[in-house]
């Protein structure tokens, strides 16, 4: 059954590419994405009780390549299909997309490679699928020929190719130690092993994974964020909503596999720095997509903190934050696409009066913003509540600092909701097709907050209670943070030349690669 989830998108993509016209390609892809979404929900339902295993090619389980869906990977698959469904509805009305067939062919292949990545039980297949998804992502990011995204796309691709060589080398060491490629077998073989032998493969593999995660010792945010600037809106949404999630999923998986040696403390520290750094850089930006891109890095830091803390609440909170981040970030990217089209500019300082021009889309965007800053009753508040529910004062201070940074950076973003602007773009009114996914996901941002415990129970079969008193406490902290953030924004950030110069800092390909070497050395010495 799992094979179909991976192979059907590719087959359909090929068929559509050969036989269909542009219009039918769009319609068929929407119908198909809905079907795939339903199938993935069914997968989530059944994997809550038992793992689903498919052995490809009807060999026995020693020889065959295994696809394995447990409750974790099923959720990621569901996220993938949901976001691709939203994106396909969104791009239905694209008029300038003359070759929708090619675009959808690539999108389907990307989706299949993501699903395959989440379901794969084999470490080598993970390598193959990472390569496929990187390649397709880069081609999609350069899709708008007028914008000439070639240079940033090339840096992104080259850096990823170099990082994946570390993965492959580390994989070789894993194979030498365990004689296996299958994740579960490797976990089993490594379980009782001396940490000293595992250091080299762990360091090599984690270098690649942490690079993909854009964790801080890398200047890897440079290719990652630069590629957002000129890529099409839907591709940016998929990049931020999903590509970041694939690396997080691999991070979780590899920390489990290398349990005897997993450096939780190191990654906790790295996560904290990544979070703060991403928020600071987001404050400095004025390009609407760049704010969101740096924000993704900050949120990845927070998720890494949640996963590495080592207590169960924070872990669940981190996982739930992955879900919520995918929701609000996709909403924000899609709605920013609508807004850019409507105003004809991507500079946040020039866009004003979104609420007035398109009230419903504006409201959905506002819901996503409230979700990302962790306002009470919205989706981000629940996950942040769990991450910081059972921690020491240091981590608590860090999470509060992180939400403060988030709030400040979104002050700039939300200032575009109000006011008055005469700027006109191609399509001043929001189109229906583009609005639908934004609105639906905005509603999910609200629902995921109000019914947070139900959502968590549905996903993880883990019943948690939110204590009213401490939730109220967190809400008060949030309101204080919001006030402080507003004051800081008004008197410090606004029009600060130093900050905008800091925001323009970006590293070349060579320093990006050098950071990989530094990180590898740091892990080996740890």
């Amino acid at each position: 059954m799992l094979t179909f989830l991976v192979i059907v998108p590719v087959l359909l993509a090929v068929l559509l590419f050969i036989f269909s016209t542009n219009i039918t390609a769009k319609i068929i892809s929407i119908v198909f994405q809905s079907a795939l979404f339903v199938a993935s929900i069914y997968l989530v339902m059944i994997t809550r009780d038992a793992e689903v295993i498919t052995i490809v090619g009807s060999y026995d389980d020693i020889l065959g390549i295994i696809l394995r869906a447990n409750s974790l990977s099923a959720i990621f698959v569901m996220l993938t299909t949901f976001i691709f469904l939203a994106v396909s509805v969104y791009s239905y009305s694209y008029k300038d997309r003359r070759d929708a067939r090619t675009f959808w062919f690539l999108m389907f292949v990307l989706e299949a490679s993501f699903i395959g990545l989440f379901l794969s039980g084999d470490l080598f297949n993970v390598f193959v699928l990472i390569e496929v998804s990187t390649l397709v992502t880069v081609i999609l990011a350069m899709y708008d020929r007028k914008k000439r995204n070639i240079f940033h796309g090339k840096v992104f691709l080259l850096a990823n190719v170099v990082s994946i060589q570390f993965y492959l080398l580390g994989l070789g060491y894993v194979y030498r130690i365990t004689g296996a490629m299958d994740m579960e077998r490797v976990t089993y073989a490594l379980a009782g092993m001396d940490a000293g032998n595992l250091l080299l493969p762990y360091a090599l593999l984690m270098t690649a994974i942490a690079f993909k995660n854009t964790l801080i010792p890398f200047f890897s945010w440079t290719p990652k964020t630069n590629i957002y600037r000129k890529s099409p809106t839907v591709v940016a949404a998929v990049l931020s909503g999903l590509q970041a999630k694939t690396s997080l999923y691999l991070f979780i998986r590899f920390q489990e596999i290398f349990e005897p040696i997993a450096a939780h403390d190191l990654f906790l520290a790295i996560g904290i720095f990544t979070g703060i750094f991403g928020a600071v850089m987001a404050i400095c930006q004025s390009h609407i997509k760049m704010i969101l891109a740096y924000h993704t890095i900050s949120q990845i830091g927070l998720i890494t903190v949640g996963i590495s803390l080592g207590n169960e609440y924070a872990y669940i909170g981190g996982l739930y934050h992955i879900f919520s981040h995918a929701m609000f970030k996709t909403t924000l990217f899609l709605s920013s696409g609508i807004i850019i089209h409507s105003y004809g500019t991507s500079n946040v300082n020039e866009i004003r009066g979104v609420f007035k021009r398109m009230p419903i889309v504006g409201a959905a965007t506002a819901a996503a913003v409230l979700g990302i800053v962790g306002a009470p009753f919205f989706i981000g508040s629940v996950s942040k509540y769990f991450i910081s529910s059972d921690v020491g004062p240091l981590i608590l201070a860090v999470t509060i600092a992180l939400s403060l940074g988030t709030i400040i950076s979104f002050m700039k973003f939300s200032s575009m909701f109000f006011g008055q602007s005469e700027l006109r773009g191609d399509s001043p009114k929001a189109e229906v097709c583009k609005s639908i996914p934004v609105i639906v996901m905005g509603v999910v941002c609200l629902a995921g907050g109000i019914m947070g415990t139900q959502f968590i129970y549905f996903f993880f079969r883990y019943s948690v209670g939110i204590q009213i008193w401490s939730y109220a406490q967190k809400s008060i902290i949030f309101i204080v943070c919001a006030l402080v953030g507003y004051l800081i924004y008004k008197y410090v950030v606004k029009g600060n030349a130093l900050l905008s110069r800091l925001g323009a800092v970006s590293f070349g390909f060579k320093s990006v690669c050098a950071s990989m070497g530094i990180f590898l050395a740091a892990l080996l010495l740890w």
């Binding site: 390649l135 240079f151 004689g179 390909f509 060579k510």
Partner: protein, 124 residues
């Protein structure tokens, strides 16, 4: 064969890996970076080839187990790394093809292959 035998292959491949990594970090020309990326792929593939020809945790190749063939099976190479190496070669080849195509487009656009100049032109 001297020092170029399979015993030393691991050291050679690791040396090549880090030499080409150093090359990637330091080369000023984009074409040279691409060449070093190809070299680093070759280094990894060399390492994988070594894996197939040594006593790993599973000395017997994972094919159908037959006691009668035990002597024979212990002498042949592990087929799994070889199969995976082939896949890695194909993937590396196609990625490099895409990279070179992109380089071509960039070169036509700006007429230079120098990293510094390109970063000045493109980075804003």
């Amino acid at each position: 064969m001297g020092i170029f035998n399979t015993e030393n292959l691991e050291i050679f491949s690791l040396a090549l890996f880090f030499i080409s990594f150093f090359g990637i970090i330091t080369s000023k020309n984009m074409i040279k970076s691409i060449i070093f990326v190809m070299l680093i792929q070759t280094a990894v593939i060399m390492f994988w080839l070594k894996l197939g020809r040594e006593d790993t945790a599973t000395p017997i190749p994972p094919i159908i187990y037959d006691p009668a063939l035990l002597d024979y099976m212990e002498r042949i190479a592990d087929p799994l790394p070889q199969a995976l190496t082939l896949t890695a070669i194909i993937i590396g080849f196609s990625v490099v093809a895409v990279i070179i195509t992109m380089f071509n487009a960039l070169y036509r656009l700006h007429g230079t292959a120098d990293w510094k100049k390109l970063e000045e032109v493109e980075g804003d």
